[in-house]
């Protein structure tokens, strides 16, 4: 069953990749002209077009690219001549690290906040959390990034402003440099998750089994986190899977601000420069990541909900 699910991912990724190819190709602007330098001559533009096979029709180019990818050859960037796989390999881990950290911050912080909000629904504390959530949700992440940058890096000099140190070079530096970007990305997510969890929890806390647990005399925290949390987390989980795309979009912006050599920044440049080969490679990986993330969410469902695992329908 799982294998079947995995196989359905393949056409999805292929479709995304083909649509992207068509879209970038349709964009006005010619890669060869941009590569030919200032004051280009016709001969230079023509020679570059030949070199990059840009004169072939689009379906031919796409199929050729697909064939190359199947053998592991993702081509070389038009702009930098760097092998696309190498470029992605250098940059993807950074974006993944920031994205995962952002996700973890958001989830770890939203669970207690959401639970407390639900448990103490409509009280002062709930209203505070709600207001702060909406406030944070309304702030775009580039504003958040700038604010964090100025407060923590310039005013108080706690964290460095820009740049990146690889995790293999220096773990301490790496963590220091990843906190602000991850925080900028996580704030918006935090708000969404808190609200979702709160809504689901409120509904769950009204269920019979919760009343029974209370009647049995179980401690409150146990009821909340062991019994009520699990059934309440399904919407949250679904959204987390869907938010992966949002994280990548946010990464493009945040990476610019903090000068991180991640995949978002590279994709943005590649599109601006009509670096088709690089865009295709990156989109393929992003497509795969998103699709796999949602697949992972499906898997976690079965872990969280024994009823799905056993394949039986939910009791009325």
């Amino acid at each position: 069953m799982l294998l079947r699910k995995l196989l359905t991912l393949v056409p999805t990724v292929l479709l995304v990749s083909f649509l992207t190819y068509v879209l970038v190709d349709l964009l006005p602007g010619d890669a060869a002209t941009l590569l030919a330098g200032n004051d280009p001559r016709q001969e230079t533009i023509d020679a570059i077009r030949e070199e990059l096979n840009l004169n072939d029709p689009l379906p031919v180019r796409y199929v050729k690219w697909l064939g190359d990818v199947a053998t592991g050859d993702f081509g070389r960037s038009f702009r930098t001549n760097q092998p696309v796989l190498e470029a992605i390999g250098e940059r993807l881990p950074i974006t993944l690290q920031i994205g995962l950290m952002a996700l973890l911050f958001a989830i770890i912080l939203s669970i207690p906040l959401g639970v407390i909000s639900a448990y103490r629904a409509n009280t002062a504390i709930d209203k505070t959390i709600t207001t702060v959530s909406f406030g944070l949700l309304a702030i775009p992440n580039f504003v958040m990034a700038l604010v964090l940058l100025y407060v923590f890096a310039v005013r108080f000099r706690i964290f460095p402003a820009v740049g990146w140190t690889r995790i293999t070079e220096d773990l301490g530096e790496n963590i220091k440099r990843s906190i602000l970007p991850a925080l900028s990305l996580s704030i918006g997510q935090l708000a969404v998750y808190t609200r979702l969890l709160r809504t689901d929890m409120i509904a769950t806390l009204q269920e019979d089994f919760v009343s029974m647990a209370k009647a049995k005399g179980l401690p409150t925290w146990r009821i909340l986190f062991t019994h009520a949390l699990r059934p309440s987390s399904f919407s949250l989980l679904t959204i987390v899977g869907l938010q992966v795309g949002g994280l990548i979009g946010g990464a493009v912006i945040v990476e610019q601000f903090f000068a991180l050599p991640g995949i978002g920044r590279m994709l943005f440049e590649a599109i601006s420069q009509r670096d088709l080969v690089l865009v295709q490679g990156v989109v393929l990986f992003i497509g795969l990541t998103t699709v796999l993330a949602n697949f992972a969410v499906d898997l976690v469902y079965s872990v969280l909900d024994p009823r799905i695992r056993r394949g039986s329908t939910r009791a009325a």
């Binding site: 002209t33 280009p40 001559r41 016709q42 702009r79 250098e90 505070t128 005013r155 820009v162």
Partner: protein, 565 residues
């Protein structure tokens, strides 16, 4: 006020929460004093003391650049303005410009021409080695030249004036021109000899593994993160460089880059944006600043092949409509950016006061008169009825400052009677629209935001940009007259500077009359550095006697930069 009821309590708490958020943001947006300093007339404005003391050896310096480059192989990779600094660290240019504006040999030992400038002979120094140990010889230059002359090379266009290069002896080459070409030494300013054996060994990966003769050797490059170079122990200029290491870090966001130098994280930063130049002024004495105003100006180009701007009266009306000072103020450049009237700044030896006075601008009444003349012309080029509105389209990339300028210009044009539509066009498309398609005699725009002018010889900037539009992708205005072509040819072939100045003045007389472009204020750039970093301005030619042109275009040559311990 004490909150009594639960609802009052919760309201209070909610308000407090909101206040907390607002304060948090407010804390970060600390006010800075608006400091307008004196007017910039051109050249370099600095608050650095002239005498910096004796250079000290050792130390490492980091600089935040405004953009990453595609790679470091000459004639193959695009490098940004900031990338030139990296190139000059790893490679040496054959020639360079001095403080007096004159171009002299740098890596080359001598460069002389025959009487009519149809042949230029270059002699190399002996004993210069590349970082990989191979020698710099005439054969190397020939190898580099042959690669650069390929149609697919980025240098192809620039090398058009050269017919061929001959190797005369192991250290001497001769360049033969197609016709007399006075400004040739200038062409070699962007000529960076590279090691042929390295290029062959690395193939396509040479862009990330550069080997030159420069003061620093390439160590490592993490794209979009940092590039590290270290001192070349066998550098041909003995005693140089002073620094042990330079680290280049591309930071594209302007505010983040300034923050990086403010927080001390990098030692130097540079910017090509007026807004950041202004913000840097607020940093006061904590940093050293050098501001540079050169020949590059913002402006707009007209597609002279497209109605209604194909008619001289319409273009001139648009020029008379423009109040440049007002647009500069909108850009935030008041007191920073001087206005432009020609391809040369007031500082330049090619500047003409006569042309400046005659440049058509800021005469709305004149503009209205010309516009009405066109409007009521029954044979008007846009084929509309006499008296119908004249509609023009103005395209700019979606940069906030450019949008502001566009809106300002729109107001000014509409005051004179135009209907001006504003369009935002993404950068890459913008360029492609201006360039057009073969045979390049038309293009896909009417009026475009653009940048014009550079520090080079007038020939280098004008010859291609206003050359014959037929099959010439770089003549983006598609403007040409036989007289203009003849003048440009004369300018290239004449060697007497006084006569050349007259020729380029005549070229500008044509520009003032036909108006293929207008100007919207000079580009101001700036280098901001920690006070401990010295030598940014003071590089000299080999031998130490002749001063170079400092940090032109806010580009630094690291060969003679040093840090005070």
């Amino acid at each position: 006020m004490t909150a009594r009821t639960p609802s009052q309590r919760s309201l209070l708490l909610r308000l407090l929460a909101l206040l907390a958020i607002v304060t948090f943001i407010g804390a970060a947006c600390g006010g800075g004093d608006e400091g307008a300093e004196g007017e910039n007339e051109g050249g370099i404005v600095e608050n650095e003391t002239e005498d910096e003391g004796e250079p000290q050896s050792g130390g490492s310096v980091s600089i935040a650049l405004e953009a990453e480059s595609a790679g470091w192989q000459p004639c193959v990779d695009a490098h940004s303005e900031s990338g030139t600094m990296v190139m000059r660290a790893i490679y040496d240019p054959l020639t360079a410009r001095g403080e007096d504006g004159k171009v002299r040999p740098y890596l080359a030992e001598t460069l002389d021409s025959n009487d009519d400038a149809t042949e230029w002979t270059l002699k190399l120094r002996s004993g210069v080695k590349f970082h990989d140990g191979t020698d710099l010889t005439a054969d190397v230059l020939k190898n580099n030249f042959d690669a650069a002359k390929q149609p697919s090379s980025r240098c192809f266009a620039a090398l058009q004036p050269i017919k061929e290069m001959q190797v005369v002896d192991p250290l001497t080459v001769k360049y033969v021109m197609n016709s007399p070409y006075g400004p040739f030494p200038e062409l070699l300013m962007a000529s960076y000899p590279y090691s042929p054996s390295n290029a062959e060994a690395k193939g396509k990966d040479v862009s990330a593994n550069p080997v030159g003769t420069g003061p620093f050797t390439f160590v490592s490059w993490e794209r979009d993160s940092k590039l590290t170079v270290k001192k070349n122990p066998n550098y041909w200029q003995k005693g140089l460089p002073y620094l042990d290491e330079v680290v280049f870090r591309p930071v594209t966001d302007e505010d983040a880059r300034l923050a990086a130098v403010e927080s001390g994280e990098v030692d130097i930063m540079h910017t090509l944006r007026q807004e950041t130049v202004k913000n840097a002024r607020n940093l006061g004495d904590a940093v050293n600043r050098i501001e540079f105003v050169g020949n590059n100006c913002g402006g707009s180009i007209f597609n002279t092949a497209r109605p209604p701007v194909d008619d001289k009266r319409v273009r001139k009306a648009l020029a008379y409509a423009m109040n440049q000072e007002e647009l500069i103020a909108i850009l935030g450049g008041e007191g920073i950016s001087p206005s432009c009237t020609q391809f040369f700044s007031k500082d330049s030896p090619w500047y003409s006061e006569k042309i400046a006075k005659a440049y058509p601008q800021n005469k709305p009444a004149e503009g209205k008169k010309l516009l009405d003349e066109y409007k009521n012309d029954p044979a008007r080029s846009d084929k509309k009825a006499a008296g119908a509105e004249v509609v023009v389209e103005f395209n700019c990339p979606p940069d906030p400052t450019l949008i502001a300028v566009a809106q300002g210009y729109q107001q000014q044009a509409q005051a004179v009677g135009f209907k001006m539509n504003l369009n935002q066009v993404e950068q890459a498309t913008h360029i492609n629209n201006a360039v057009g398609k073969p045979p390049f005699t038309d293009a896909d725009y009417m009026i475009n935001c653009w940048r014009l002018g550079s520090q080079g010889d007038p020939d280098s900037v004008l010859f291609n940009q206003y050359g014959d539009p037929n099959n010439n992708a770089s003549n983006v205005t598609n403007f040409s007259t036989p007289e203009l072509q003849s003048l440009l040819k004369q300018g290239r072939e004449e060697s007497d500077p006084a006569k050349r100045k007259e020729i380029y003045e005549k070229v500008h007389e044509i520009f003032n009359d036909e108006v293929p472009h207008v100007w919207t204020g000079a580009t101001v750039t700036s280098v901001v550095s920690k006070p401990a970093v010295k030598g940014i301005q003071g590089w000299t030619f080999p031998g130490g006697k002749t001063k170079g042109n400092g940090a032109e275009n806010s580009g630094i040559r690291f060969v003679q930069v040093w840090v005070q311990k």
